[in-house]
Amino acid sequence: MTNTISLPQSLPRQVSPEVIRRRRLVGKIISYILLTIFGLIFAFPLFWTVSSSLQTWQELRSYTPHLLPAVPQWHNYPTVFEEIPFARFMLNTMLIIAVTLPGEIITATMVAYGFGRYPFKGRNTLFLIMLGTMMIPSQVTLIPQYVLFFRLKLINTYVPLTIGAWLGGGAFNIFLLRQFIMSIPLELDEAAIIDGAGPFRILAQVIAPLMKPALTTVGILSFLSHWNDFFGPFIYLNQMKLFTAAVGLRFFKVEAQMGQQPRDHLLAAAAAIMTFPVLLVFIVAQRYFVSGIILSGLKL
């Protein structure tokens, strides 16, 4: 583009196109080398987990590390399910997600719509307060919440872990969705009003269908955060049959370290089992996920 317009006098000495092309090539090669190095650093621990999970513990504890198992020990995986009720734990987590995921999507959309479309009294103040709650450490509210749920005899139930999802589902989700709603032209709402649609119908039939990328993002974030959540289930659940996968895996880790025989291979397998569903969800949905964040116009 630059060579089609007259160049200003301040331009430094002319560089021949060939030199430019060569410089670009060098730049590209350097970029690829850096990307590959970083890629290997990031991928290696994951590769190592899978490889470890398929070795015997004797292999793992030899002084010449094996990058790959001599004979893949596939039975390490079923063994994990025999040693702890991991299937049950995963089912428990899925149950929590089945309750929280729709809750977060529905209520966060509602709240975002309220903040994005209705200039009610005190809106800006409340919106700022909502953003401010993200800055306060959760420990402050966690202790009294625990006391509250204790008094209500809801320890060892899933209520404390799921109720928040039906109450707006977190400031970040609301913020993300509200930004997205603001980018939808107001004319669409107005046309729907003329057609006689009420506020709830407008949200459900006009706005929500346009929010797919943003809603997918919120859905994935919600799935991930509940699948990975450790602290909540850790303080609210102390009966093994109620454990989530995260708490169950920690239980297995502590138990394995006390065992007679090293169980590093089984721990690696359990860690891999815990990680697979998350990677699967991400790989299926990553296109929406990344564009969802970028499209929401995370304007800072």
Binding site: M1, T2, P8, L11, K28, S31, L35, F38, G39, F42, P45, L46, W48, T49, Y63, T107, M110, F115, Y118, P119, F120, K121, M130, T133, M134, M135, P137, S138, Q139, V140, T141, L142, I143, P144, Y146, V147, F150, G164, W166, L167, G168, I174, L186, P199, W227, N228, F230, A246, L249, R250, K253, L267, A270, A271, T275, V278, I293, I294, L298, L300
Partner: protein
């Protein structure tokens, strides 16, 4: 910001203008509050109420089973004068946050700039970088304790191979435990959401600015330094603030790897609060610790905001 009032007030009927306006305002109030009611209920019941309750508890001696007993500033006095682990945990937490966050933000930015260069196959790398941030922290803890195992860990095996006869015992060593946590944290966070936010920030930089710089004869490196970097400062600031708020609350990784050890080397403030509130059920003292901690975080955030006026640049003003 286009709002409904902006448009509806323009439509006011000159004769009965006021009534139309107030009717619309009433409608906006009604539906606005109906729509935000889930959040409002949650905010009052699960946030504001508990925060105030915590403040009250912090002036009491309370163990959940008995009713709270007012002791005035007792908990705060104990915290500052008699609790040995209080200052230790603050120091550990600041060390961890002060190193891991700037390094992490820098790392995420470099990766995003590399990915933004519109090269072929970039999506593959982006996925590769992102994957560690998806690994559940419990699994990551198992994985890193194993990677950094003194005897059989692959890192030490490699280091011994390279001639370092006695490599550090990482999580097993008081001096190396926090650096180990920092490594684990960087691996799991550098390529994650923070990097995506940087990518979004990079895509928001107007193309004209690069063209203009190129016409002025700026090379790729100079454009990065004089166009990209200044325009990314709002994103850097955002990530620093959120990163520090998050890192100061660190609990999971330190607890799941070494439970605050060895010898309290990774005893972060989050663990200290947890121990008192949920292990000893010393709710009053735990609440005092939590409130003090909240004030520290707010103070640090405000300070960053103040400092940001010196180095954050908003293109086209704010």
């Amino acid at each position: 910001m286009t709002t409904m009032t902006g448009r509806t007030t323009a439509k006011t009927d000159p004769a009965t203008g006021k009534r139309v306006h107030s009717r619309i305002q009433r409608r906006n109030n009604l539906y606005g509050f109906i729509f935000i009611s889930p959040w409002l209920i949650g905010f009052i019941g699960l946030w504001l109420g508990p925060a105030i309750a915590a403040l009250y508890f912090s002036f009491t001696n309370y163990n959940v089973l008995n009713s709270p007993k007012w002791i005035g500033l007792g908990n705060y006095v104990e915290m500052f004068t008699r609790d040995d682990l209080f200052w230790t945990s603050i120091q550990r937490t600041l060390y961890y946050a002060g190193v891991s966050v700037p390094l992490g933000v820098l790392g995420s930015m470099i990766l995003a700039i590399l990915l933004n260069a519109s090269l072929r196959g970039v999506t593959v790398f982006r996925t590769l970088f992102f994957m560690p941030s998806l690994v559940p922290v419990v699994a990551a803890a198992i994985l890193w304790v194993w990677l950094l195992n003194t005897d059989w860990g692959i890192l030490n095996q490699a280091l011994r191979h390279l001639g370092w006869k006695h490599p550090p015992s990482w999580f097993g060593n008081r001096k190396w435990a926090i650096p180990s946590l920092i490594m684990m944290n960087l691996w799991g966070s550098v390529g994650g959401t923070r990097m995506i936010i940087f990518l979004a920030g990079l895509q928001g930089i107007p193309e004209e600015l690069y063209d203009a710089a190129a016409i002025d004869g700026a090379g790729r490196w100079q454009r990065t330094l004089h166009v990209t970097l200044p325009l990314l400062t709002p994103t850097i600031f955002f990530n620093l603030v959120l990163g520090i708020i998050g890192a100061l609350q660190a609990f999971d990784a330190a607890f799941l790897t070494v439970e605050g050890g060895p010898g309290f080397a990774t005893w972060f403030f989050g663990l200290h609060i947890w121990k008192h509130a949920f292990q000893y059920f010393n709710v009053g003292y735990g609440a005092a610790l939590a409130w003090f901690f909240a004030l520290v975080i707010i103070l640090i955030t405000v300070l960053q905001q103040r400092l940001s006026e010196k180095w954050v640049f908003y293109y086209g003003g704010r």
